[in-house]
Every structure is written in C-alpha cells, then in structure tokens.
Symmetry: C2
Subunit: 359 residues, 2 copies
Amino acid sequence: MQSLRVDLGLRSHEVHVGAGLLDELGATVRRAGLGGIGAALITDTNVARHYATRAVESLKRANFAPTVIEIAPGEASKSLATLATVYDRMTAAEIDRAGVVIALGGGVVGDLAGFAAATYLRGIAVVQVPTTVVAQVDSALGGKTGVNHPRAKNLIGAFHQPRAIVADVATLATLPEREYREGFAEVIKYGAIMDAAMISDLERDLDRIAGRDAAILEAVVARSLMHKAAIVAADERETGIRKILNFGHTLGHALEASAGYGRYLHGEAVAIGMAAAAALSEQRAGLDGREAARLVRLIERAGLPTAMPPEAFRDADFISALRLDKKRADGGIEFVLLDHLGHALTRKLGVSEILSSFA
Amino acid sequence: MQSLRVDLGLRSHEVHVGAGLLDELGATVRRAGLGGIGAALITDTNVARHYATRAVESLKRANFAPTVIEIAPGEASKSLATLATVYDRMTAAEIDRAGVVIALGGGVVGDLAGFAAATYLRGIAVVQVPTTVVAQVDSALGGKTGVNHPRAKNLIGAFHQPRAIVADVATLATLPEREYREGFAEVIKYGAIMDAAMISDLERDLDRIAGRDAAILEAVVARSLMHKAAIVAADERETGIRKILNFGHTLGHALEASAGYGRYLHGEAVAIGMAAAAALSEQRAGLDGREAARLVRLIERAGLPTAMPPEAFRDADFISALRLDKKRADGGIEFVLLDHLGHALTRKLGVSEILSSFA
C-alpha cells in the first residue's frame, strides 16, 4: 500500500492506494476522524454486484449503520433527477450532520455522491472509494463534484473535498476492457503535462498494464495521484496552475456533450482531445512534431481513439458546448497546450481560433 | 445610508442599508469587484412588478447585460424543480464564470438564487438585494443558501457568501402587512439572544415601525445586521456561537414543515417557536417568568402569533421533522434557550425531552 497526503489546510486528507483496501474501509473512515453512525453508501448497480457487500461489512465492523443507495450505471445518472432520488433516500435514512457519504464507484458515482454530500444539510463528509481507473487516477481527488446539465457537462457543481480517498486497485480487475482502457487517457495526460519520464515508463510498461498487474497498477495510480495532489494543493479552486489538468478536456468535453453523453467514454473523448491539442500545440506552442507524434502513438497503443471526427468542427452543438466551456471567461478559453512533452502552458484562444486551426 | 463590513477573511464583504439604494445597484456591484458582463437577476413576479425595471436600468448603467429570471412567489419555489429552470435560463443566457447572480427579493429568492450561484459552474458571485424584512435583517447575510426537500426545509443547500448586500429599506413600503410583520420576529430575536436594550427600544418604537418610517427602519435593519454580522464573522459555518441564531427556529421549522410549507410564514413560525422556547427556558435555563412574559408580550404587540398548536406535539410529521433537524447530530438537538433576556445558551436536548416539556 502507498499513502500520500493532499495538503489543503483544514481540508487536508489522506489517499491510500493498494490491493484489497476495500476490506479495511470502515477502519480507514474512522481513522479519517468520522465519528458518526449514519453512512450512505452510494454506488451503481454494476459496482454493487461486485463490491457493495464487502464495503458494507467493513463499515459495519467499524460500527457504522450503512444504507446502500444504488443508481443506474452510466453518465445519464449524473443528473438532477438522480440527485433528487439520492436526497430522498438519505433523508429517509435520517442521515444527519455527523453522517458520511461513501462514494463507491467510478466518476459518475464520485461526482454525484460528492455533490450530494456537498449539498445535503449544507455539506456533510464524503469518502471517495473509486473503482475505475479514471476515478482512481483523477476524478476522486481534487474536490470537484457535480451533475450534468443537458447543455453542458458538470455545469451544476461544487468544490467539496473528500475526507479520505481509498483506491483499491484490485477492484480494477472486474472492469470491462473498454472502461479499463479509457482510464489511461488521464494517466498519459500526467506524463504529457508534467512528467516526461512517465511517458517513457508507460511506453515500457504498457503490456503489464494491459495485463492488470496489481503491482504496476499500484505504482501507476499512486504516481498519477501524487502529480494531481501537488497541483490541487497548489491551486485548489483552479484559478491558475490547476488549469493544466484540463489538457485534452476542452475539446473532449465539447465532443462528449455534442455526441450525446455516453457515445464516447470520458477517457476516449479526452484521448481524442489530447491528440487534437497536440496538433494545436505544434501550431501554437512550438511543440516538436516528433514529440506530438510520440504522444499520439502512446495513446493509440493504450487502445484509445485519437481522431477527432472532422464533422465535429461544423456541428452546432459542438460549437455551442465549446462556447459554454467552464474555463471560459470574458470571451476566451484558457486552452492547455504543450511546448514540450512533459510541460504544459495555457493560452487564451477564441472559439473561432480553435475551430479555424482544424479547418 | 449605513454601511458595515462582514469580516470573513477572503469572503469579507460590505453591507449597505438605506432608502433608495436600488438605483445605485449597478455601481455598488462594480465597487464589490465584479468585472464581468453577464448578470442573472433572479426575482419573483411580485417583486419584479415593483422593482425589476429599476434594478435592470441601474445594472445597465454599470455596463452589465442583465437577464431577468422570474420565479413564482412563495415557499413552493424553493424547490429542485424551480432550481432546474433557473439553471436552464442561466445557461441559455450563457452566463460564464465572470457573471454574477443578483438575488432581488425575499428569503425564498435569496436562498434559491444564492444556491444557484453556489452551484452554477461550481460557484459564481452573488449579490443579495433583499426586499423583505426577514431577508434584510436575517437571511441575506451569512451565506446560507438552499432549497427545501419535501421532508425538511433547507435540507439541500450550501454556504456561499454574497459579494455584497444591498438592503433598500424603501422596498419594504410595498410589502403586504402580514409579510411586513413577520420580519419582526427575527428582529425581536436579536434582542432576545444578545441585546436586552434592543428589546426596550423595540417596545418604545413599535408604533413608528408599524408606520414603516424609513429612518427607524434603517436603524432597526442596520442594528439587526450588525448583530448578525458579528455572529457570522465569529462562526461562519455554525459550529458554535452561530447556533444561537436558531432561537425559536427548531420548533418553528418543524411547525412549518409539518403544517405544510406556506401555512405559516417563516417569521410567524419563528414567533411561535420563540414563545415556546421562552417557556422551555423557564424550565431548563432559569429564565425569569416575567422576562419570558415580556418577550411573549412584545411578540404579540408586533402582531405575531405566540401559541403553539397543542396538537402539533402529537403530530407524526412534526416529530419526524424535529428528528431530522439540521442542528441534530449524535441523537440530540442543540436547543437554544435564554437564561436572561438578552443572553442565549444552547443545551443538547433529546426529541422526547422537548416533547415531554409541552405534554
């Protein structure tokens, strides 16, 4: 097991990464300082089938009285409608201010459950227990929570830091192949924006990663989280450096929104967005063409798509989603580019500038 | 005009109280440091009829491009359903992170608009422009925002401090008599919990207050806000001293919830709750019976109800609402009592203890 601390002042918390941590969940939640009885274990029906019982048993051993709240799997559950049913269940269980939300699942569960915790009784504790690669290496850390609006992903949300993160890499064993692969878009992203040596290591280790080797997964997840923790500690509210974590995400989000949530997995859209951002980086930030090609090749080897559908750039929904991008303010988008593999910067670009680059 | 500062570190902000401030709204919002263009003016149809045009014109003079979002008046609008329509309108207007929400109205508008601001794009600025007594002396200050759940008032919410508060006491002139009166429950509360001299002054000034004299209103609203600002600055998240502001509210909220939102106005329920809390204070905190009677008499003279319906204490919904009280943790309710008129304390009481006191 590896543990690290996310340094956020009063909101500082521990992150634990390793195989089999699910069975220690209750004790870990207690060690995080949570002394109540009520626990809303929010999960989806797929994850519940594999892991809810173990999580519940562990929580009971630590004297919690858990209530399991299952949602349907998939991005469509990240909605105000599902949120309303979660509030209903939490009130029916009489979860009080001393209670805790346990978010057991992927990014959808983590974002929805985190937002429910952020807004229930004006905010109660949440412990993130991510069970997908995307959630373990990215979305569980950093406090971003929320649900989608039909017009824009994550439009409704709040910052709400977890009290602990428990990333059990053994839970990745049951992920369907496509969901497993998409997570490596975020892993590759950390290499692209801040750790060139990580790109080399990923090139070397890709086969062991594909085999879901627990030791390599612990190392890769912990290294990713170490990078994200450093960025989030430096800029919790994303007013500066944290923006570089959006590499590949501006176009990726617009693609997800315009294609209809669910056609692309988040990581697939980000993979496409990173490949497009690499091309834009050659034009706008002096990224060497061979480095751009090397990045695109790694994304492909990880089994992820890299081609932006050419018609996207003429699609009204795509353009509209880009215009509503959360990173937008005062008319420009803070677009993340690479000047070298392993180093990112941001440039304020107009929507039309971005579109014309791909015309 | 009187101005005061709420000292909340990075979230510190100004509060302005006076007659006619609405026409300076745009300039005041600019002085609060808001540099964007987009402005969502959220209000209800009653308030809009009297004041939306003046607010819009003032915002335009300060180079904002305001979008007016009208909701139906009344507590029923403090719902997830209304919130969803507000998000729709804000996204349609392409309000971005530099945008501001202007909450023009009473407590319902302030709470709903504040929560929309708290959760739109993970939080944008809000300026509170309260137009009722309750909102001016209480709910606009302190950052509490949220909507109701069918099972409990304000169950869904967040802390989100405004960037400024503009309390134009001239807007109180158009309040219906009942809505005007209810606000003085909160005013009397400040006297009861922390300012015995204010009780005497209110006893003296009640006739001028009833006549809606602008000078006396400016003084009363500013004095109330000064007290609330001091409490909120000392305990922003209500982990300690801020709890005394809930005097009269524990039973008041349960009464509102069980009677169906809307039967009692908030201030009326609080008035009843304060009278009941005064009786409980005699039993549990040594409050002198004459002081309790004096408080009840002042509440009555202000035109507010003081009698708890006797059947409430046997009502399953009332008891259930009490059990779900937000101040509850670990099985007890932090109940606010008076030991003297002008001084409050909290005692942890079980639900059954509270109920048996009134049996």
